[in-house]
Symmetry: C2
DNA sequence: AAAACAAGTTTCAAAATAAGACTAGGTTAT
DNA sequence: ATAACCTAGTCTTATTTTGAAACTTGTTTT
């Protein structure tokens, strides 16, 4: 009765969740995008149990989302840094952030915001656009299953 | 030793994950966006244990992502349909899908694709753009913590 | 040299998950 | 009308995952 895994799924959403769909992975990745890269920094910032963090970091390294590197401060320790693949999760984090901002705060409640480094301005909304540059909602799209030849 | 919860977090990503961050929620939402809305349809499509599905659907209803409605086919059963808030997760699902497509398939491997309903064309890439309409990468943004007045 | 820190591992208890049997209404076929 | 089947669950049990805290080993700081 191991937890189900979706690593062989036909649906890319399922495969993604197989890699980063558990309770802590996306928060680790969020922190990594914020520049956190040491074991103890993740642990302190997240309040995660050390044993959990060890397991999650190892999973992410195994899946190619993070990689280890010698510490940049010259000490003998190591760092966990995002790979190209890991940095590709930036839109996922932004989408989660914007949904949370929109739906999970009281009108008067404060939260951190994402800003453009250059200008300090809050970032714009992440949107899917059609080839004609219109914003696409979910009704405007559909999933096409495997191409005709394969079932 | 309850699982940690992030419902009071300052970070919107954490709050979002508190609602949809467990193992099945985003797959249920993916299916709901595909038009699935009956208990047994979710169960069959996902291969999830019935007891799990019961719990997850209830959580999502409690959080306002789904709501129940009388079955649209005239039977006495009910349906689970996305609320406005739930439909707002569309970009999250698209972002996960595109990341999976980019990183989790062999070059020759097949998978479902998301297309524009109107044209049948695959959708374009979901991108965060600056106010000058340039694509923003993670290096181009930063998180600004709570505004100056509150710690 | 001693104290403190970093990055874990180990142990144990509690919670989450999976699988399948069981159930009570609702629907369909005969 | 009733038997058979479907829908949407609940219940039970076994296993896995998670969380908390103590313990460890090597590294760095004082």
């Amino acid at each position: 009765m191991k937890r189900k895994n979706f690593s062989g799924a036909e649906c890319p959403v399922a495969r993604s969740l197989d890699v980063i769909g558990d309770w802590w992975s996306l928060l680790i990745i969020r922190d990594a995008l914020d520049g956190i890269n040491r074991f103890s920094a993740f642990q302190k910032n997240l309040g995660i149990a050390r044993s959990m963090l060890t397991a999650r970091l190892q999973d992410l390294v195994d899946h190619g989302v993070l990689e280890t590197a010698p510490a940049s401060d010259g000490t003998a320790y190591q760092e966990y840094v995002l790979t190209e693949m890991g940095r590709g999760l930036f839109p996922v984090i932004v989408a989660l952030r914007q949904w949370g901002e929109d739906n999970l705060y009281q009108p008067d409640e404060q939260h951190s915001i994402l800003v453009e480094t250059q200008t300090g301005e809050p970032v714009t909304r992440l949107e899917l656009r059609s080839r004609e540059n219109q914003v696409l909602e979910w009704q405007d799209t559909k999933v096409r299953k495997l191409s005709p030849d394969e079932k």
